[in-house]
């Protein structure tokens, strides 16, 4: 482990004593944790060997901003807006309505009962990045939706990175009370820096609660991200978790969705598009730990140029989780002969009386569909663009908010049109 990741750096971070102790403990343990290797199933095809941690240092204090944090126009109708820069809370605003309803948002260190929120549902770090996050996260942010509270407008969280050569460790701790309803949209962005970001989200969805969550990853082209999100879904609760993978040089999102209460449901969705030499890497765990639980996963991506994607997913059904229904589908379109998509679905079932299915495909644009559109007078490149847009339509329809769906559609169309333009200028006819 490089010297920069040591306990004195960890000790220099702000916060109450209990937090400093927790971080020091994690930092002291890091020496024993090795960098993952692509030999491990969960890191297979991951490009982890390219990561040189010597190039990055964890921050002990906030750096001065390089520029404004890009905040989308969709901000005016949110109950809560949080801006984290390099893992530090920059601004937070909470609507009068949400405050009145008792919604709590803030730095863990500022809360009287902060210690009760950390760690949350990620009880044990699963890899080096979890360890590092626990040791070097500067200001874990707590979001609590009280029992029975329904927020009509979303909570918007901007995680922006503008520190160069930095290792950045944002952490979000969410608790959705029984019967509550909330929508959370995380935007991950960066300026033009060479940094590594390892965010952790821990979210507890209480009994009968409903959480819609989106992670829109639009990082700069030199940023490597290792995101870990852990959801625990309670009895008769519903989780909708959506990931959009757009940016970054290498971007990994590990999603652990554990259905802990009877009748819980989870719908997991991802849309990703790769260009240049990007890699999008998704690892999913659908863990059924209670009876009558349902999980349904649909991840779809398009890979252009020499980009790559990895999808590996595991459905596990524990002995008590009878009458589980679990579905897993990963579909990939290769837009270029140099693009690659690896798709590795897995099942691990320890009980009878379950319905499980998994499917994965990697293929170029469908020739029949292409011919059909062409036979209507649509030039090949435009027909391909229409088909790729169409391919994403069902996953975009599952985005938790209309602005997220619209923004993603616009981004995808923009990329596909740019591609069309490039192909025209390269091969003039």
């Amino acid at each position: 482990m490089p010297n920069a990741f040591n306990s004195s750096v960890s000790a220099a971070l702000p916060g109450p004593e209990w937090l400093t102790d927790l971080r020091r403990e994690a930092a002291e343990g890091i020496g024993d944790v090795v960098l993952p290797s692509a030999d491990e199933e969960v890191w297979r095809y991951s490009r982890i060997s390219e990561l040189d941690l010597d190039r990055y240092v964890p921050l002990t204090k906030q750096v001065s901003p390089l520029g404004p944090v890009p905040i989308s126009d969709a901000v005016d109708r949110n109950v809560v807006t949080l801006v984290l820069r390099n893992g530090w809370l920059e601004t937070s605003s909470i609507s009068a309505e949400a405050a009145e309803l008792g919604v709590t948002v803030g730095r863990i260190g500022d809360l009287e009962d902060g210690a009760t929120y950390f760690p949350s549902v990620l009880e044990n770090p699963v890899d080096l990045f979890d360890h590092m996050n626990a040791a070097f996260t500067p200001e874990p942010i707590v979001i609590v939706i009280p029992d029975g509270v329904c927020l009509r407008e979303p909570i918007l969280i901007f995680l922006h990175t503008d520190a160069d050569s930095a290792a950045v460790f944002p952490r979000l701790l969410m608790r959705c009370g029984s019967g509550s309803q909330a929508t959370i949209v995380e935007h991950h962005s960066s300026s033009d820096v060479v940094s590594v970001v390892a965010p952790v989200l821990e979210a507890q969805v209480g009994n009968d609660a409903r959480l819609s969550h989106a992670l829109v990853q639009d990082l700069g082209s030199e940023v490597r991200q290792f995101a870990h999100q852990v959801f625990h879904v309670g009895q008769s609760a519903v989780l909708e978790a959506f990931v959009a993978g757009l940016g970054g040089c290498y971007s990994r999102t590990r999603t652990d969705c554990r259905l802990v209460g009877r009748g819980g449901e989870a719908r997991l969705t991802a849309a990703y598009h790769g260009e240049g030499s990007q890699t999008h890497d998704f690892r999913t765990f659908q863990e059924h730990a209670a009876p009558d639980t349902t999980s349904e996963l649909l991840f779809k991506g398009a890979l252009d140029d020499a980009s790559r994607s990895v999808y590996s997913g595991l459905i596990s059904v524990e002995p008590e989780a009878v009458r589980t229904r679990a579905y897993q589908t990963n579909r990939n379109i290769k837009l270029s002969p140099d693009a690659w998509a690896h798709s590795v679905p897995n099942l691990e079932i320890e009980t009878d009386d379950v319905i499980c299915s998994h499917a994965s495909t990697v293929s170029p644009v469908d020739e029949e569909q292409l011919f059909y559109l062409e036979s209507r007078g649509i030039p090949t490149a435009i027909a391909e663009r229409l088909l790729v847009e169409g391919f994403f339509e069902d996953v975009l329809a599952r985005a938790p908010t209309e602005p997220v769906a619209l923004a993603l559609r616009a981004t995808l169309v923009g990329r596909l049109v740019r591609r069309l333009h490039n192909s025209r200028t390269e091969t003039p006819k």
């Binding site: 559109l373 649509i378 847009e389």
Partner: protein
């Protein structure tokens, strides 16, 4: 000089892999004419339809196809379509996530035609062809019944307004109502916009409404007989064997069918 208005197929030979499927097809379709191509399974009917639109997987080894003087065979499918050719498929492809309107708007934009009014035109045509207007907002052909898909093909043809349409077994799997609706719409287009039609079919039922000017019998990759509408009636009664005799390898000269001319000429001339 203005080029002659005709879809002209001359000496068309086509291979798929090592198999010779078409062995020299000659056909001329003029504006407003309806030509029916009939023939047993495996005679090369669908190959003819697909190769005219330039589908991958077919190798043209000889012959030419011109549309009003434009040579088609070296053009990409979308350019053939923009030149005025339309193909209605036997099995219309489902295109998830792409709406009919978006597809036709892109087609219009690419062809330099007006996109305004496509919605209106779709609604008018849907009513005319008897396609539930609610189906217009579905992705192209997705979850449509066989009959709805065929009506949808006719609908697209009506909105695109091509010069020549090739209809590949548009009657297969169609109920009688749908058959009549589709055939009537195609027939109307021959009158209204002077559409030239090459219709490929197994069944004479379609032809009762469509009233072809010419009927051609395709067998083993060649047109073995050509005649008027009564040829379809004879096929119905006698079957292909009866009409063609045993000689499916018959010489190029057409079987004498008791019509004044067996070679293709322009009946309007």
């Amino acid at each position: 000089m203005k080029s002659e208005r005709v879809l002209r197929i001359e000496g068309l030979c086509v291979k798929v892999g090592d198999a010779h499927i078409l062995g020299g097809i000659d056909l001329e379709v003029r504006p407003g004419e309806v030509h029916a191509v009939m023939g047993p399974n495996g005679s090369g009917k669908s190959t003819l339809a697909h190769v005219l639109m330039g589908r991958h997987g077919y190798e043209v080894t000889a012959g030419t196809v011109t549309l009003d003087g434009t040579s088609l065979l070296e053009l990409a499918p979308w350019k053939r379509a923009q030149s005025g050719l339309f193909l209605a498929l036997q099995h219309p492809t489902e295109v998830p996530g792409v709406s009919l309107e978006a597809m036709l708007a892109e087609a219009a934009a690419a062809g330099g035609r007006d996109q305004v009014g496509i919605r209106e035109s779709l609604l008018v045509e849907a009513r005319r062809i008897g396609l539930d207007a609610r189906l217009l907002d579905r992705p192209v052909n997705v979850d449509l019944s066989g009959g709805e898909k065929k009506r949808n093909e006719a609908l697209q043809m009506s909105v695109i307004r091509p010069l020549y349409a090739v209809l590949d077994e548009i009657d297969s799997g169609l109920d009688v109502d749908a058959l009549v609706a589709v055939a009537q719409r195609v027939k109307d287009a021959t009158d209204e916009i002077g559409l030239g039609v090459l219709v490929i079919t197994h069944f004479s039922r379609l032809l009762e409404v469509l009233e072809p000017d010419w009927v051609h019998v395709l067998s083993n990759g060649r047109i073995r007989a050509s005649g008027g509408r009564e040829l379809a009636e004879r096929l119905e009664v006698e079957g292909y064997g009866g009409v063609l005799g045993e000689a499916t390898d018959a010489p190029e000269v057409a079987v004498n069918l008791g019509v004044s001319e067996t070679l293709i000429t322009d009946p309007l001339a």
